[in-house]
């Protein structure tokens, strides 16, 4: 079981570390774009992964504390980023408001030591809609000719792939009895895929 756990963690961490390294290496190429804050976000992801692994072992802190914090910060970061790249800003503002309401609800009515699912589901739906809007916007522009060298395209594809796989898993987790390794494997693959696309988003800057 330990080896399985290590393999799964490595599968998740390696793409995250690689994405952060590429974010640092390619920094000069995107420092003046709307994606400039991804370097901090990817660094934050690594810190959260370290805390999520070490704090429960060292201090007995519940993992849900760390991951709920991650949900709040990463959710707000991604939604604010979508607001900066989409033309329909009002829609994203509505999503940000609903996301904040869902967090407030959980703060008042749920324990912080349990993984909050409502904000996660709200975030997943919001990002899926934002991704669809982004793609339909891009399809109407001439930039679609160079979509393979568009950093935003690959990041949004990563988000879409992650949340399109994540949403049914969270919603149907109880119904299908997904737990333990059966839950962690698809989540790990989803995370690896998402960070793989984020790596691709930095690599495509080379071609630019």
């Amino acid at each position: 079981m330990l080896s399985q756990d290590i393999i799964l963690r490595l599968l998740m961490w390696l793409p995250q570390i690689a994405a952060f390294v590429f974010a640092i290496v390619m920094w000069p190429k995107y420092k003046n774009t709307t994606q400039r804050n991804f370097i901090y976000f990817l660094g934050f992801v690594l810190v959260i992964e370290c805390f999520g692994y070490l704090l429960p072992i060292l201090y007995g802190v519940k993992r849900a504390y760390v991951y709920n914090t991650y949900t709040i910060i990463s959710g707000l970061f991604l939604l604010i980023w979508f607001k900066s790249i989409l033309q329909t800003k009002r829609l994203v503002i509505v999503f940000i408001s609903v996301f904040i309401v869902s967090i407030s609800y959980c703060l008042f009515f749920q324990e912080f030591g349990v993984l909050w699912k409502i904000p996660l589901v709200v975030l997943a739906i919001a990002i899926l809609i934002c991704s669809t809007v982004f793609f339909s916007d891009l399809l109407t522009k001439n930039e679609v000719v160079n979509f393979k060298t568009d950093q935003k395209f690959w990041i949004v594809t990563g988000c879409l792939v992650f949340y399109i796989g994540y949403l049914p898993l969270v919603l149907l987790q109880k119904y299908f009895g997904l737990s333990g390794i059966y839950y962690r494997i698809p989540i790990t693959i989803n995370i690896s895929l998402m960070f793989g696309f984020i790596i691709k988003s930095f690599l495509c800057l080379k071609k630019n």
């Binding site: 399809l139 594809t157 796989g165 299908f176």
Partner: protein, 270 residues
């Protein structure tokens, strides 16, 4: 169904959903990309086709039968007068001009020096026809690098021809065409073609009465050519036409063209 089968179905469905959405996404984007590229190519091809048609029209305008007929008639007149040397001189100028028309019309650009030579030849032959009724001046700015600055072919000659045939031709007495090449900077220069004829406004009125559309057609061809040249991003040519009577007590027409080269020499080598 057992719990394991349910889990398998769930995970398989999720994987399928992810894969299918990715396939759908990339297929949609690739199709759109190909469609856009095809549309852009078609537009470019149509523009090129139109450009070639207009160039052919410009060449036809230069080689217009009236001009050839009148020039040969004038040369014949000198032969009849036994002025062999003069007729030979004009015949050689005429043949050189024809050669220049054909040679330059095939090129994407010609040097200012070549354009000046063509205009000089053309004006000398026109002078043969008009005799003392036509004078011309070619003023070239000393700062202008005539060998290294270029312009699209078949642009200036039709304007000069219009100045003579529609400006000076209808004027009583002597007329003058003046062509000024003025340097602006290393990459751009100005050409002013001024005649002291009847002016474009009067000429348009006369043509309207005669239902003659040649002038309008040739200026339309010229303007469309300039637009296509601008679209090609190789040239930026500003074109203005002014009736001198609108701003002074003189008669005549002044055409100003400002050429800005948008492409470096290497791009023409392929």
């Amino acid at each position: 169904m057992s719990e394991k089968e349910l889990i398998f179905i769930a995970l398989f469905s999720v994987a399928l959903l992810v894969v299918l959405s990715l396939i759908f996404l990339f297929m949609t984007f690739n199709n759109r990309k190909n469609k856009l590229i095809q549309e852009q190519l078609e537009t470019k091809l149509n523009n090129q086709k139109r450009q070639h048609e207009l160039e052919l029209n410009a060449l036809r305008a230069q080689m217009n039968p009236h001009f050839v007929h009148n020039s040969l008639n004038a040369i014949q007149y000198y032969i009849q007068l036994n002025q062999v040397e003069k007729s030979e001189d004009y015949l050689s100028k005429f043949s050189k001009l024809m050669r220049q028309f054909f040679e330059y019309s095939r090129k994407e650009r010609i040097s200012v020096e070549h354009e000046i030579s063509l205009l000089k030849n053309y004006l000398e032959i026109e002078k043969l026809r008009f005799e003392d009724d036509l004078d011309f001046q070619l003023n070239i700015d000393k700062a202008l690098d005539t060998q290294d600055l270029f312009l699209p072919p078949m642009i200036l000659q039709p304007i000069v021809e219009n100045a003579i045939n529609h400006g000076i031709f209808h004027k009583k007495g002597k007329g003058e065409v003046s062509i000024d090449f003025v340097s602006i900077n290393d990459f751009s220069f100005k050409v002013e073609i001024t005649d002291d004829g009847i002016g474009i406004n009067k000429s348009k009125l006369m043509n309207a009465k005669k239902k003659q559309t040649h002038t309008e057609h040739s200026s339309f061809v010229l303007e469309e050519r300039l637009t296509l040249l601008r679209d090609s991003k190789h040239w930026d040519v500003a074109f203005t036409i002014q009736d001198l009577a609108d701003t002074s007590n003189k008669t005549g027409t002044k055409v100003t063209l400002i050429f800005k080269e948008g492409l470096n020499e290497d791009d023409y080598d392929h």
